[in-house]
């Protein structure tokens, strides 16, 4: 869930197959569900971010990134297959560039502000073991009753 950085009293939440745009008026919360194109409806909406112009970016489990025009609940643009596997994180930089991170492929992509093309790419791998410089004696007890 995120508060809209520019529009007052606007909250955006996401989760299983949905994204909701909440308006807080008086003491009442009004909900507007985001409308997905049928083929773009994801299992999970995993992450949210905001562009400098107030558009909402969402990443989902299908690997797509969607741009929702500011103040609406309709998709303005779809980037299909931004990542193999789910998009786990979106980050909007101050200079307008967008960074997305994938869960399965471990790729980090940098997009231009219009999200037309990925300009740069880097891969994050899980680190391997750190090798010991010198050995030290240690006693270890395992779950199979061995020492």
């Amino acid at each position: 869930m995120e508060f809209h950085p520019l529009d007052k009293n606007t909250i955006i939440s996401c989760g299983k197959s949905h994204i909701s745009f909440w308006a807080f008026e008086g003491c009442v919360l009004y909900k507007k569900l985001g409308i997905f194109d049928q083929r773009d409806k994801p299992k999970y909406v995993t992450c949210l971010a905001f562009t400098g112009t107030g558009d909402v970016l969402s990443g989902d489990s299908s690997g797509n990134v969607l741009i929702w025009a500011r103040g609406t609940n309709v998709v303005a643009k779809v980037i299909r297959g931004a990542h193999d596997g789910p998009v786990f994180s979106i980050l909007a930089l101050k200079d307008g560039e967008i960074i997305t991170g994938g869960g399965k492929d471990g790729r980090v992509l940098k997009w231009d502000p219009d999200l037309t093309k990925a300009e740069m790419e880097t891969v994050v791998k899980n680190p391997e073991s750190i090798h010991a410089q010198k050995s030290i004696p240690v006693l270890i007890n395992t779950v199979y009753n061995t020492l």
């Binding site: 790419e121 410089q133 240690v138 395992t142 779950v143």
Partner: protein, 87 residues
Amino acid sequence: MRVITEGRGSQLIVGTTKNCVLAGSFQLPFQLIVQGHTDELWGLATHPEQQQFITGGLDKMLVLWDALSKTAVWSLDFDVCTQAKWF
């Protein structure tokens, strides 16, 4: 990878599903800042003389930590889950 955030300058900080924190950028490769265990921790032993301790548990990882710099000195992939440790 689970989350990305902005570091200093063009640096990016990445948190992974394996409880690691890495820092890097599009120019520099990602390097490990913090390595974590990914399952229950069952064993902990402190070194009798040095400022070090060893941890291990059900994630089959064995890690020797430096208590002063709070970093891993070495880590080892064990074939079985471990419980108790002694120096």
